[in-house]
């Protein structure tokens, strides 16, 4: 069964949920369409929508089903974030390298995600539109050091030139698999994975997991 990425034995299929966060015009949709359909600003894009996309991968002989959830990036929907990213295994936080504000937004989301989901979620911070490097407003060093400080990885991508996207998702999948395996080990071999994988569905009332002060920004 496809329960929440906690897929177990090597023969089993992993299912991961990845949320896509980012402000309005940073190119979230282009990024994911480039990844799943390999098209950019194309009039021939066949898919009806780009808000929920799936991708099947095979990583070192293990099958992975990736479900990518786009989220509404407008400021007024910010408060709805938690409903979207609950139970997700990974988050792709996109900003536009020519737009300082969008990077600021990413920082907010990171804080929120760490607060709500702790360290279980794999974070990817993505600087998109590197084809517009001449207009860059977010420096590479700043972005990368920030990513490191919050336990996230940083990637440079260009949906237009199809740069860095494949690597981004492949890397993310590998990390999520590691997480899932670690979790599996933690539970102890043999003990069924029943109760815990189910708990995730109990929506709404789960209080945000309180992480010890300072702990949220330090782990790798």
């Amino acid at each position: 069964m496809a329960a929440g990425g906690a897929g177990g034995n090597s023969g089993r299929t992993y299912s991961f949920k990845v949320v896509l966060l980012g402000e309005g015009c940073v190119g979230k949709t282009s990024l994911v369409l480039r990844y799943c359909e390999n098209k950019f600003n194309d009039k021939h894009i066949t898919t009806l929508q780009a808000s929920f996309l799936t991708k099947k991968l095979n990583i070192t002989g293990k099958r992975v089903n990736l479900a990518i959830w786009d989220t509404a990036g407008q400021e007024r929907f910010h408060a709805l974030g938690p409903i979207y990213y609950r139970d997700s295994n990974g988050a792709v936080l996109v900003y536009d390298i020519t737009d300082e504000d969008s990077f600021q937004k990413v920082k907010n989301w990171v804080k929120e995600l760490r607060k709500m989901l702790g360290n279980e979620i794999c974070l990817c911070i993505v600087g998109n539109k590197i084809d517009l490097d001449k207009d860059r407003h977010v420096s590479v060093e700043e972005a990368e050091s920030y990513a490191e400080s919050v336990g996230a990885r940083h990637y440079h991508t260009s949906a237009k030139l199809n740069k860095g996207i494949e690597e981004l998702f492949l890397d993310l999948c590998k990390r999520m698999m590691e997480n899932a395996q670690a979790e599996e080990r933690l539970k102890g071999n043999g003990a069924s994975q029943s109760a815990s994988s189910r708990r995730g569905v109990q929506i709404v009332d789960d209080e945000p997991q309180a992480t010890p002060a300072g702990g949220c920004c330090s782990s790798g």
Partner: protein, 551 residues
């Protein structure tokens, strides 16, 4: 017979009165002679009633009455009781049939040590006396037994498993649950059994588990909604685990079975667990409904929705989406409810795709969904969301596409609850005025209050006028055009009528003129005998004479 009766009863009142009078009179006399008088009388009034129509349909010789379907009082009483008796027996037979099927299904889950299908062995009391109906009953029982045997066949002990733990569940009063179940639940149960047929041994095991679970749940009516949810989710989990080990990890088969299990148990449990009294779902429903009603003034522009409703295909999709989201409430199974949401979302995507000519992102989709929810005001929205959250199969909610759309619906609902001036880019004063109904944005939309910044696509920002008003104006124009056209048609018709009226007159006049000009002079006719001598023989050609040619 019914036809005749119908014809009689449809007669008009005076006729009935007449008939009644006649009937009373002739009932008293009851001779054949009178009938002829009667027919004379009725004929005089233009009514054609045959003698046979008035007699009892049973042919007992007494006169019948329309109110008794053309029977006499005695025969009517007999007939009425017979029909009632039959009705009662039919109902009884149906109930018995259902019970047997249930028994068969249930007994089989005990390893099929069954035999108690009495089949047709116990004829209903009083059968024999009812000549024509007993045959019908026989046919019915035949049908019944056939059905039972098929169920039995499928559950027959021919399979190699020895009946295992048949002990502790032997006395559970299981059929009592289904006793008062509706047609729908029966159908679902049947489908479920049919589905499990293909699985053979594990199928029986699954059926047993589900039934035991339902029985178990029926005794937990007073638990809170969360606890009920816990029970169901635990059941799903256990079932999924067992199936997983049985199918050796083939998740497709597991999903398939789980869907059926969900359908079966949730159809059964629906009444008890949807919007339960122990929760405040109902209050929330009302609150949301009122909230949406209060927000009726929110326009598509305020939400920055990239749908242009002036395009007919778009508005068509919008209507379909609204219908789908409303339809959600009518489904019982969580998965069917999800399917409604998914259909709704697909229609929204189509609408956006047509408007923008590119695939919809979440930035477009969520506002559009909010708009649809505001327009639709779906019944019992909160209850439905809670129900799906509590009782849907988790694997579907967490990762699948359906889950994504459901999450968006949750977001839309949350947004509507918390909606304020800022989220519509309005000033707090404006928002207050609209909420209190003191002003309506539609009336002075030309001010362009909400020429919105940000990601609002130009197309919709330009269309400041309300599409409904535009449509209304168009319709009005169309109507006035039609009216003038109609007037023209009427005029033409009237002139045609005048022409038609004057035409015979003119023809008459003409005829008169001609007649005056050439008066008809009738020459006196000279009648003469054929063989009279003075016939003008001279004018006749000479008679033919045979000519003879030589050679």
């Amino acid at each position: 017979m019914t036809l005749a009766a119908g014809a009689l009863t449809t007669q008009t009142n005076p006729l009935n009165r007449v008939l009644d009078l006649h009937r009373r009179y002739y009932y008293y006399k009851r001779t054949h002679l009178t009938s002829s008088i009667m027919s004379q009388r009725t004929e005089r009034r233009g009514i054609h009633v045959d003698q046979s129509d008035l007699l009892c349909k049973k042919g007992c010789g007494y006169y019948g009455n329309a109110a008794w379907q053309g029977l006499c009082s005695k025969c009517w009483r007999e007939e009425y009781q017979r029909v009632r008796q039959k009705q009662i027996q039919d109902d009884w037979a149906l109930a018995e049939k259902l019970q047997r099927e249930e028994d068969a299904a249930y007994a089989s889950s005990h390893g099929a040590q069954t035999q108690p299908h009495g089949q047709s062995s116990a004829p209903h009391p009083g059968h024999a006396s009812l000549g024509p109906f007993s045959k019908f009953e026989e046919k019915k029982t035949n049908e019944k037994t056939r059905k039972v045997t098929t169920v039995k066949k499928f559950f027959s002990p021919s399979s190699r498993t020895p009946p295992k733990k048949e002990t502790q569940e032997g006395k559970t009063p299981s059929p009592s649950i289904s006793r008062h179940s509706s047609f729908e639940t029966d159908q679902v149960s049947r489908d479920f059994v049919d589905f499990l047929k293909n699985l053979q041994r594990p199928g029986r095991e699954i059926h047993k588990q589900c039934r035991a679970f339902i029985v178990n749940m029926s005794s937990k009516k007073d638990l809170s909604a969360e606890e009920l949810s816990e029970c169901v989710q635990d059941f799903y989990q256990n079932m999924a685990d067992r199936l997983m080990s049985h199918f050796k990890g083939s998740s497709e088969s597991v999903e398939q079975v789980m869907d059926q299990v969900e359908k079966y148990i949730m159809t059964r449990l629906y009444k008890g667990v949807f919007c339960p009294e122990t929760s405040d779902d109902e209050r929330k429903d009302l609150a949301t409904q009122n909230r949406i009603r209060a927000l009726h003034w929110v326009t598509i522009q305020m939400l920055c929705v990239s749908m242009d409703e002036e395009i007919p295909e778009v508005s068509e999709n919008v209507v379909k989406a609204i219908t789908d989201v409303i339809e959600m409430d009518s489904k019982r199974v969580p998965r069917d409810k999800l399917a409604c949401i998914t259909r709704c979302s697909k229609h929204i995507f189509s609408a956006i795709r047509i408007t923008k000519n590119e695939p919809a992102s979440a930035d477009d989709f969520l506002p559009a969904l909010i708009y649809i929810v505001l327009k639709a005001n779906p019944p019992r929205l909160q209850s439905n969301i809670q129900y799906i959250t509590r009782f849907c199969n988790p694997s579907r909610l967490m990762t699948g596409e359906d889950g994504y759309y459901f999450t968006n619906l949750c977001c839309a609902t949350a947004f509507i609850e918390k909606l304020d001036a800022q989220s519509l880019n309005l000033s707090p004063e404006e928002f207050e005025r609209y909420m209190s109904g003191q002003a309506s944005p539609r009336l002075h939309s030309s001010e362009g209050d909400w020429a919105l910044a940000g990601s609002a696509p130009d197309a919709t920002a330009v269309a400041t006028t309300n599409p409904v008003l535009v449509q209304l104006n168009q319709n009005l124009e169309l109507l006035s055009g039609l009216i003038s056209k109609q007037e023209r048609v009427t005029e033409a018709a009237q002139s045609l009528q005048a022409d038609l009226l004057s035409w015979p007159q003119s023809v008459e006049r003409e005829v008169h003129g001609v007649l005056e000009k050439y008066p008809l002079e009738v020459a006196p006719r000279t009648v003469s005998a054929i063989d009279a001598n003075n016939v003008d023989n001279d004018n006749l050609p000479p008679p033919l004479t045979p000519q003879v040619f030589a050679g």
